[in-house]
Symmetry: C2
Subunit: 203 residues, 2 copies
């Protein structure tokens, strides 16, 4: 699958149109699932003709790839912000409530779940999410390594592997948790997320 | 949706048949997703006629409900085992590697993800998983409460709410993590899961 953006004469207009398609697709996938939503349904929701949508995306796989890429950019920006902090480890602990709130937002988790479920059965989507995950881990790993070094903490490969995946699990689990328990006690959960993060980041 | 088991003249034979359908459905859902797999495809994979399958399950929703119920029984058994331990809190920490291994097993996580994604868009399935979650939390909460009391730790309602959901998030996140990073360093991850669990359970 090509994830390359198609070239358009008016790039600003193309960006607006792409965004229109992505917003429509997010709504359709949320309602009918990735398999249930057709390109025809997505183009209708986006207010364009079925043929027109193919000017922006070749397939539903390409739309999912664009969502994954949007998330990569969001996470990458979070990492750059984190790098600027005096003590990134402590900043992560202090920011636990904000991150918990973001993960429990109903505008985020249904699509995240849909992408993970699709990646579990569609090798093309699996490749897209795994490639994105590798890039995010490289960036996160560098921050953890330099911040832990300044604290005199272990930075061997096993330590960083375990810390990275356990930290990410804790947050990815929230997307699942909120489906199973929509009445989650958010401040209480954020407090315990902070306890877990502090113990991991400083061990 | 009725999740009541249909009555059969030969209950042993009916149990075997139900198991056949569930195994076939797990394979079909894993391959095509919940929406992509039809009852006809499931009955074919189970080696029975399309009409015959309705003797055991009314619909795909009823099959998902049966999977959720299977998991409730598995978790319930884990809880009963945990209750028998001298120190359930410490046992959970000590058992982190085993639980991590179980969650990373490719026979478990694709179906767990499929059910969560479906629950995010299908109110009937949402009701089934939420009801199961309430029951599991009641059981888990009682164990945490009595074990923490013995350790002289806080057992107020907010503390138990936060601890429960953060602990469950950590494990449910593993099902997502392994899709995004299939090369997870399992012993390193289990070590950090243990660190997080110990900090949370004893705080």
């Amino acid at each position: 699958m090509s994830t390359t953006e198609k070239r358009h004469i008016d790039p600003d207009r193309a960006l607006v149109r792409r965004k229109q398609v992505l917003d429509a697709a997010a709504a359709c996938f949320g309602r009918s699932g990735f398999h249930g939503a057709s390109m025809a349904e997505i183009s209708k929701a986006a207010g364009m003709s079925a043929g027109h949508i193919y000017n922006y995306f070749d397939s539903k796989d390409a739309i999912i790839a664009a969502f994954v890429e949007q998330n990569v950019e969001r996470v990458s920006q979070l990492m750059r912000d984190l790098e600027q902090q005096a003590d990134p480890l402590q900043s992560m602990v202090d920011d636990a409530p904000r991150h918990v709130r973001e993960h429990l937002d109903p505008n985020t988790w249904p699509l995240a779940l849909e992408i993970s479920a699709e990646a579990a059965r569609n090798p093309k989507i699996a490749e897209v999410v795994r490639d994105a995950d590798v890039r995010a881990r490289v960036q996160f790993r560098a921050i953890l390594k330099s911040s832990r070094e300044r604290h005199g903490l272990a930075v061997d490969s096993d330590t960083l592997d375990g810390l990275l995946d356990a930290m990410i699990s804790l947050f990815q689990g929230l997307d699942v948790r909120v489906v199973h328990n929509p009445n989650v006690n958010e401040p209480a959960l954020a407090r315990y997320m902070g306890i877990a993060m502090k113990a991991m980041l400083f061990s």
